[in-house]
């Protein structure tokens, strides 16, 4: 096949890129990363305590898909078979991303720190589950009035959450958090794998949200409201306040321009203004 005409080539101006192929995504969804991760190559104490804590928090956040699904599926979002088909595989991939993160944290924990259990899932039941945002009943009731426009808002939430989490991944991919200041190739490889998985999720969320927010001012208005109200990152209810704050410090504390880069990313969604973007960063940092 001619590479230039294949998928992944730069689209010609004026030609619509092919829409995200949900069936192909489902077919190629990635399961466990355990075999691909070179945990042996990650030296003990490769990471600072702060970085290990961030990775463990990321694992909780990535694994909190069922709580998020509860909130979005009680509304019209569950009616959209294309979106739900995506979410089924999205939750599956995130489950294994969380598993990979716990394995990496376990391998790289500083000596003397509590090593993450690299074999099992987190004790979600033991995590402090607090009422953040609205519960399913209020969401379902609100959903009556919001109708299908709420789907665009939910996709925007998914898109922005990926942007928030990627700030932390970007920092972990750099050399800042390693204990001795030098990059670790095995860790770098693990983070690259995870970002590649998440890049497809972000592509779907961004494409679908953009399409809906562009065509419906009401969907854009709902998206602005949902983004401004949400607790950031989205899975925050599954981690402690301290871990959430520590995560936010880490995510925003690398590149001094990270907050403004996040806001630019948020504003790239149709109909999302500067004020909404600033509220997201404000709630994340707060």
């Amino acid at each position: 096949m001619d590479d230039l005409s294949g998928a992944g080539s730069t689209p010609t101006i004026g030609v619509e890129p092919a829409p995200f192929d949900v069936r192909d995504f489902a077919r190629t969804a990635h399961g466990s990363h355990r075999e691909g991760l070179d945990l042996e190559a990650i030296p003990d104490a490769a990471l600072t305590r702060e970085a290990v804590r961030t990775i463990l928090t990321l694992a909780e956040l990535e694994g909190a898909t069922m709580a998020h699904l509860r909130n979005v599926l009680v509304t019209a979002t569950h009616k959209d078979a294309r979106v739900t088909a995506f979410l089924v595989s999205w939750a599956y991939e995130k489950y294994w991303v969380a598993d990979a993160l716990r394995a990496v944290a376990g391998a790289a924990a500083p000596v003397g720190a509590t090593r993450a259990n690299d074999a099992s899932r987190p004790a979600v039941a033991a995590a402090p589950v607090r009422a953040r945002g609205r519960g399913p009943i209020r969401r379902a009731l609100a959903g009556f009035a919001q109708g299908s426009d709420v789907i665009g808002a939910h996709l925007a939430l998914g898109c922005v959450d990926d942007l928030v989490l990627d700030l932390a991944y970007a920092r972990l991919a750099g050399d800042v958090p390693t204990a001795d200041g030098t990059p670790d190739p095995a860790l770098g490889d693990a983070i690259r794998r995870i970002r590649a998985i998440k890049a497809r999720h972000s592509a779907f969320f961004h494409e679908e949200a953009t399409r809906r927010l562009e065509t419906s001012p009401r969907a854009a208005r709902l998206a602005r409201r949902e983004l401004s109200r949400a607790a950031w990152p989205l899975g925050a209810a599954s981690v402690s306040d301290e871990d959430r704050r520590s995560f936010a410090r880490f995510a925003l504390g690398g590149d001094p321009g990270s907050a403004s880069a996040l806001e630019r990313g948020i504003r790239s969604l149709a109909g999302i203004d500067e004020r909404t973007a600033a509220r997201v960063t404000g709630r994340l940092a707060g």
Partner: protein, 264 residues
């Protein structure tokens, strides 16, 4: 025996039919009434996410084993839908996401109110309500296995039988999860037993009843569960359900068939 959730998640796969000769259906196509039943089954499998939504509105989503299971379960059921859709496609029946969306849009107010009712009940009953969901899930998965087995027996089509065998094998692991959860929760609480018994006997209906038209439910149940063999299969499911703690004597599947007027 306790269900090993780590082993389950590590071995959960999308059902594979790439080695099956679906072209055999061109030479030996399934009759129209069987395609109608298969279509129902595919729709129900695709709709699994709707049941997840109901499950998620109660305290059960907070438990990590349940979350892990549901993640894999959802995906396996989605692929059962895809597999059945592949068989239907050979017969010229296509199922695309827009069409599924259109059928979900028809569900109306009941569909909108269901998660709220579930949440309110879950809130009132508390942790014991999880036992209802787990027992309900077990009853649904047992009946799904039975439906696939009956379909394979009735059609006597080797390719269909093999595909349905693979699907039913995955459903058997779902049964194992639901029953281990249900048994444990029922055994631990008399209140859970009472609430579950009440909910199953009053509200249980064949899988798909809440999302498919009544005539489709009647067609599928009549097709698969009528006659002596059908009743025997229904009794077997009832025996399994009533074997759980505090549920002795329940005959919910046979009762449902009677209500639908399915001949015994």
């Amino acid at each position: 025996m306790a269900f090993d959730i780590d082993r389950y998640t590590a071995t959960s796969v999308a059902v594979d039919w790439s080695d099956l000769d679906l072209e055999a259906f061109r030479r030996e196509p399934l009759p129209g009434s069987s395609l109608r039943t298969l279509r129902y089954m595919a729709d129900v499998e695709y709709h699994t996410v709707c049941y997840t939504r109901d499950l998620l509105t109660t305290p059960s989503h907070r438990e990590s084993d349940v979350s892990a299971f549901m993640t894999m379960w959802n995906r396996e059921e989605f692929w059962h839908g895809e597999a059945l859709a592949a068989v239907l496609a050979v017969h010229g029946v296509s199922i695309d996401y827009d069409e599924l969306k259109a059928s979900r849009l028809k569900l109306g107010w009941k569909d909108r109110l269901d998660p709220i009712k579930q949440s309110v009940l879950g809130g009132l009953v508390g942790q014991d309500f999880v036992a209802v969901h787990m027992s309900w899930g077990a009853a649904n998965e047992w009946s799904a296995i039975t439906a696939y087995q009956r379909m394979a027996e009735l059609e006597e089509h080797p390719v269909l039988a093999e595909l349905l065998r693979r699907i039913a094998k995955q459903e058997a692991r779902h049964v194992a999860f639901y029953t281990s959860q249900a048994r444990e929760r029922l055994a631990a609480s008399t209140k859970a037993q009472k609430v579950t018994r009440f909910a199953l006997s009053r509200f249980w209906a064949p899988v798909g009843s809440s999302i498919m038209a009544p005539e489709e439910v009647r067609h599928v149940m009549g097709h698969l569960m009528s006659g002596e063999e059908g009743r025997r299969a229904a009794r077997k499911v009832d025996d399994s359900i009533s074997g759980m703690p505090g549920l002795a004597g329940l005959t919910i599947v046979q009762d449902a068939l009677d209500r639908l007027g399915v001949a015994s």
